[in-house]
């Protein structure tokens, strides 16, 4: 029985929750219920199904802006940049909206994975049209072919700007993209030499983006300029078997050499391993033991390497016995996005409609975006080309947590329980006991409720404490039964309703501040 073999049992509710926490930003209670008892294979098929293209991001008047000139009504570059800054913000809000309303699909979580892999930031690429175009590319290839993906991202106009590919010309190469292509995007550090970086930079000379921050041209794009291309042969080191990439001339030289370069890099077994490890740290856990390297990463990398098919690789990962290993439940610290979007989804939040209820939609997405940002996960604005540190640096996910961010996480869940009209957020605490088998029994109610909130079960001692302290605040536990019955018999009695709600709010505020809630 190998780690990578398919898990063939029907999934329990806990397993479905685990799968949806990792493959999406967390399931809604209805989704978990619907999929419980189904096989992993069935659910993973659903997760991988092709999704309709989302409608374009719009402004407060429902007008698209990716198809206009840069800078809106600004009359100088400072004003135009400020105008575009608002649009760039709207792009982020649009994406957060898609994450909140996502169906059972891998698309959003995987697109975010790639945005954190092929980083370009809105701080550096200050033209929303480029960022949106890149986002569309990320969506197109998120579950597609990695080889094609790398080739396309290399020529992507936003990437050409972000990593200076656009200023990489014959005679005066700019090495920035070539270095990150190897170090971060494909093969990983330690598997190439400095001379390989220089040779790759020369292969990549001649590309540039078009109409960045243009106030006259509505369309953007990229082009290859043969005259700026280094036509000499490029010789690589032992790391690449001393390969020579033949220097070419003419209009197809850039594409031809780029294809050779990517083929050369992807032919190295280390490239598939590097990407598969990164998948593993995004979807499974940070710690890769020797055993996991040998029995999971290596066979999965072999599958990936065959055609560099992302979909088949992730399908194998999410179907594997290893993925459903019970000791891996809660083996991540939730990212801010998991925490913010996942909490909303767990409590059946309905995002206001962007067409019918625009103001509320804007307020809500903006609020949720700000929470992610303050917790250090600003989408399309990673702190560096490396992406977010918790996915590569020493200590991994623990980096999400420090005195400040932990406090902000607590402030966020407090807000969720409290609710707010501006963001149309209301967890309906009075409805929560109804999700359990016996709302009148405080121990059963708290046990079942917390089982759906945490990735691994609380101890009986903790459940007892939750009943005695936050729920009952020191009053005898059996009083809960009458509080609940009083409320359900006369649900319109404000005093009785309020009594029940106060108890439940106190419980939920406490529950969501427990350290266990941070486990994803």
């Amino acid at each position: 029985m190998a780690l990578i073999d398919a898990y063939t049992q029907n999934l329990t509710a806990r397993q479905v929750s685990h799968l949806l926490r990792r493959a999406t930003f967390g399931g809604t209670p209805a989704q978990v219920k619907e999929l419980t008892g189904k096989k992993a294979e069935f659910i993973v098929q659903k997760l991988l199904a092709v999704q309709p293209t989302p409608s374009d991001p719009t402004d407060e008047n429902q007008k698209t802006f990716h198809d206009l000139v840069w800078g809106g009504t600004g009359t100088n570059d400072t004003e135009r940049n400020a105008f575009d800054g608002v649009r760039r913000g709207r792009l982020k809000l649009w994406w957060i909206g898609l994450m909140i309303t996502q169906p059972v699909s891998l698309l959003e979580k995987t697109t975010l994975f790639w945005q954190n892999h092929f980083v370009s930031t809105s701080t550096d690429v200050s033209d929303v049209r480029f960022l949106y175009r890149q986002n569309q590319l990320l969506r197109k290839y998120a579950l597609g072919n990695f080889r094609d993906f790398v080739i396309e991202i290399t020529k992507d106009p936003a990437m050409l700007l972000y990593l200076n590919g656009a200023s990489n010309v014959v005679g005066k190469p700019n090495e920035n993209y070539a270095r990150e292509l190897m170090e971060l995007f494909t093969i990983g550090r330690g598997n190439y030499t400095e001379d390989d970086v220089k040779a790759a930079a020369r292969v990549l000379t001649g590309w540039r983006s078009l109409n960045f921050r243009s106030i006259t041209d509505k369309t953007i794009g990229f082009e290859f300029r043969p005259a700026q291309h280094d036509t000499a042969d490029k010789i690589f080191s032992d790391s690449y078997q001393k390969r020579t990439i033949k220097g070419r001339t003419g209009t197809t030289a850039g594409d031809d050499e780029l294809k050779d370069l990517i083929d050369m890099i992807l032919a190295q077994p280390e490239t598939a391993r590097f990407i598969v490890r990164k998948f593993y740290r995004w979807f499974v856990q940070a710690d890769i033991s020797d055993q996991i390297e040998k029995e999971f990463i290596e066979p999965l990398a072999a599958i990936f390497r065959k055609n560099y098919d992302i979909k088949i690789t992730l399908q194998t990962l999410f179907n594997s016995q290893h993925f459903y290993d019970e000791t891996l439940y809660g083996s991540q610290i939730k990212s801010p996005m998991d925490l913010v979007v996942g909490t909303l989804r767990r409590f059946n939040y309905v995002l206001p409609d962007p067409v019918k209820d625009r103001t509320k939609y804007d307020t809500a997405t903006n609020y949720f975006y700000a929470r992610n940002r303050e917790q250090q996960m600003d989408i399309i604005d990673q702190p560096s080309v490396f992406g977010w540190r918790p996915y590569y640096d020493t200590d991994f996910y623990e980096i999400w947590i420090n005195s400040t961010t932990l406090a902000l996480r607590g402030a966020w869940t407090d807000y969720v329980v409290k609710g707010a009209t501006g963001t149309a957020l209301d967890i309906n605490a009075l409805g929560l006991p109804l999700q359990t088998s016996d709302p009148t029994d405080p121990y059963k109610m708290v046990r079942e409720l917390t089982d759906t909130v945490f990735s691994f079960p609380l101890t009986d001692e903790q459940v007892k404490y939750l009943v005695e302290q936050p729920l009952m605040a020191g009053s005898p536990y059996y009083e809960w039964t009458s509080i609940w019955n009083d409320y359900t018999k006369t649900p319109n009695d404000a005093v009785k309703k309020n009594a029940a709600k106060t108890h439940l709010d106190r419980l939920m505020t406490f529950v969501l501040r427990l350290a266990e809630y941070q486990m994803g």
């Binding site: 990593l163 200076n164 200023s167 990489n168 005679g171 005066k172 190469p173 700019n174 090495e175 920035n176 270095r179 170090e183 550090r189 400095e194 970086v197 856990q285 000791t327 891996l328 439940y329 809660g330 083996s331 991540q332 610290i333 303050e374 917790q375 702190p383 560096s384 080309v385 490396f386 540190r389 640096d393 020493t394 200590d395 996910y397 623990e398 980096i399 947590i401 420090n402 005195s403 400040t404 961010t405 932990l406 406090a407 902000l408 607590g410 402030a411 407090d414 990735s455 691994f456 609380l458 101890t459 001692e461 903790q462 404490y465 501040r513 427990l514 350290a515 266990e516 941070q518 486990m519």
Partner: protein
């Protein structure tokens, strides 16, 4: 039992009221602090503070500290003509005509000319790595470039000085965070074998509020799984956040910025918080701040004037941030207790690229600033004719600077320095000519200044022939440099009587300013 342990365990019995000039509750509630600090000093430590400034992205050292003696090479078209700063704009340094500073750094120029800035030329390490991540990690962990380490050099310092950390921290003797990073993400530099030794805060004013007023920490057993391990880690963070929140709130409330800081300057914003916390009486030893944006692959200078543009803005932020901070410390009277250093993961290529930028390089200058700085130039200008792959070669291993800071500023022993630097021996750079605290440094063995009795109980008399010849300005300060009220009474031409009955046991300094060199002598109060 080690001496230091004895001191900490005994602290409860030393609780006494304290009246300090201009300082409030924080110091009051920690009445034993000066005494504790004095005794800890006697046990080998000091209360000096280190501020580390990380310049993230790889700073272009050659446009920061400019070799005027090689200007023609520096500015030639084949070298870095497209980004070279014009000679007339480069800032000159007193007594160091061969070296200049970027035109935006008038503040650092002033500090240099006042003797408060040290330039460490061409710092780095052998076998350089050009990856941002790996290179930063090498600086954080102080490891050789072909080895790996997971703990940071400042984390190991904390572990060396506070051997039991994090068990039972905070405690009475160390109620404050041992290290603070003004950020929302903690750096590897503070990693210890177990947990980070730093508290990361963005805003000390709101910190306590968001931490909440009740700890919500379960002690229930956890499963032996990865999730259990992470939960335990978060519980530990909850505990320490809660424990430190009150201290930070108090210090933030008491501390004040006494000068104005430049706006639109994220470094200045962070240093402003640091200064306020120091002023508020926080005992934190290390502060860590970051200025980003140094990865200048293209357009680091503006097309029309190479002394302006992206890099110039960064230089300005660095210089103005540090200068405002130093001025603030001076205004609060804590400037002798604070030293700062800057570093960047690497310098940039000496030869510029075609897009008015510079690619990743090797050695680059570091700055060390503070009143304690003694040697202002470590090494010499890089030789632009002797490059390796177009890179500036190494002169000073950055760990020699760390060693100087650890030994000569933080007071770590040779043995500790060696163990903090992963059992390698580095000769400390001679940045601080004398070692250790203000006490030892400023104390002049004057036969002409007598204090009797010393140690004192209630009253003591200061006598000096100098009193007769000059206008006398006498102050008594604690080890933090805070001025205490001692009701000085002039008894005669040569004698001044002090009343110390209101100040707690501990070590103090009597400073007599006679218009020329100040006289300083230690005064012990014991009962």
């Amino acid at each position: 039992m080690k001496r230091r342990d004895f001191i900490q365990y005994s602290s409860a019995s030393f609780f006494l009221p304290l009246i300090l000039d201009g300082f409030g509750a924080k110091a009051h509630t920690q009445a034993t602090t000066p005494f504790m600090q004095t005794m800890l000093e006697a046990a080998g430590a000091n209360d000096n503070i280190l501020v580390v400034i990380q310049l993230s992205g790889g700073n272009d050292g050659l446009n920061t500290v400019i070799p005027l003696d090689q200007y023609s090479t520096y500015s030639s078209a084949s070298f870095r003509g497209n980004i070279a700063i014009s000679e007339s704009k480069i800032l000159k340094l007193n007594g160091t005509p061969q070296t200049g500073l970027h035109p935006s750094m008038t503040g650092l120029q002033r500090l240099y000319n006042e003797g408060k800035l040290s330039i460490v030329h061409s710092a780095g390490y052998p076998n350089p790595n050009f990856s941002h991540f790996r290179a930063s990690d090498i600086w954080f962990t102080a490891v050789d470039s072909d080895k790996l380490a997971t703990s940071g050099w400042l984390g190991r310092y904390v572990n060396d000085r506070y051997p039991n950390f994090p068990d039972n921290y905070p405690n009475t003797a160390n109620p404050d965070p041992l290290a603070i990073q003004i950020s929302s993400i903690s750096s590897t530099v503070f990693n210890t074998a177990s947990i980070t030794s730093a508290v990361a805060i963005q805003d000390p004013d709101t910190f306590a509020k968001i931490v909440g007023d009740k700890p919500n920490i379960s002690t229930s057993p956890l499963p032996n799984t990865v999730g259990g391990k992470y939960t335990s880690f978060i519980r530990q963070q909850q505990t320490s956040s809660f424990a430190y929140a009150g201290q930070l709130k108090t210090a933030a409330g008491l501390g004040k910025n006494l000068v104005s800081y430049p706006s639109n300057n994220s470094l200045a914003d962070q240093l402003k918080i640091v200064s306020r916390l120091i002023h508020g009486g926080l005992q934190t030893k290390i502060y860590y701040v970051t200025l980003g944006g140094f990865d200048t692959h293209s357009d680091q200078v503006s097309a029309t004037d190479t002394s302006t543009g992206t890099h110039a803005t960064l230089m300005q932020r660095l210089s103005e941030g540090i200068t405002a901070f130093m001025d603030d410390l001076k205004a609060q009277g804590t400037q002798d207790r604070v030293v700062g250093m800057t570093f960047s993961e690497f310098g940039r290529r000496a030869v510029s690229n075609g897009s008015k930028g510079t690619d990743h390089g090797w050695a680059s200058p570091m700055f060390v600033f503070g009143n304690a700085v003694k040697t202002q130039v470590i090494g010499k200008n890089p030789d632009l004719k002797v490059l390796k792959d177009n890179n500036i070669t190494l002169q000073t291993d950055f760990r020699e600077v760390y060693a100087a800071i650890l030994r000569d500023w933080m007071g770590a022993s040779e043995t500790s320095v060696k163990s903090i630097l992963l059992d390698k021996t580095f000769t400390p750079s001679p940045i601080f000519k004398n070692t250790n605290v203000l006490a030892n440094e400023k104390e002049i063995p004057l036969t002409d200044l007598n204090i009797f009795p010393n140690p004192a109980q209630i009253e003591t008399t200061i006598s000096s022939g100098a009193f007769a010849k000059h206008n006398v300005d006498l102050t008594v300060t604690d080890v933090y440099g805070r001025v205490l009220n001692t009701n000085a009474i002039r008894l005669s031409q040569t004698e001044i009587k002090l009343n110390v009955s209101n100040i707690p046991e501990g070590k103090y300094f009597v400073k007599v300013d006679t218009g020329s060199e100040p006289l300083v002598k230690a005064l012990m109060v014991l009962r």
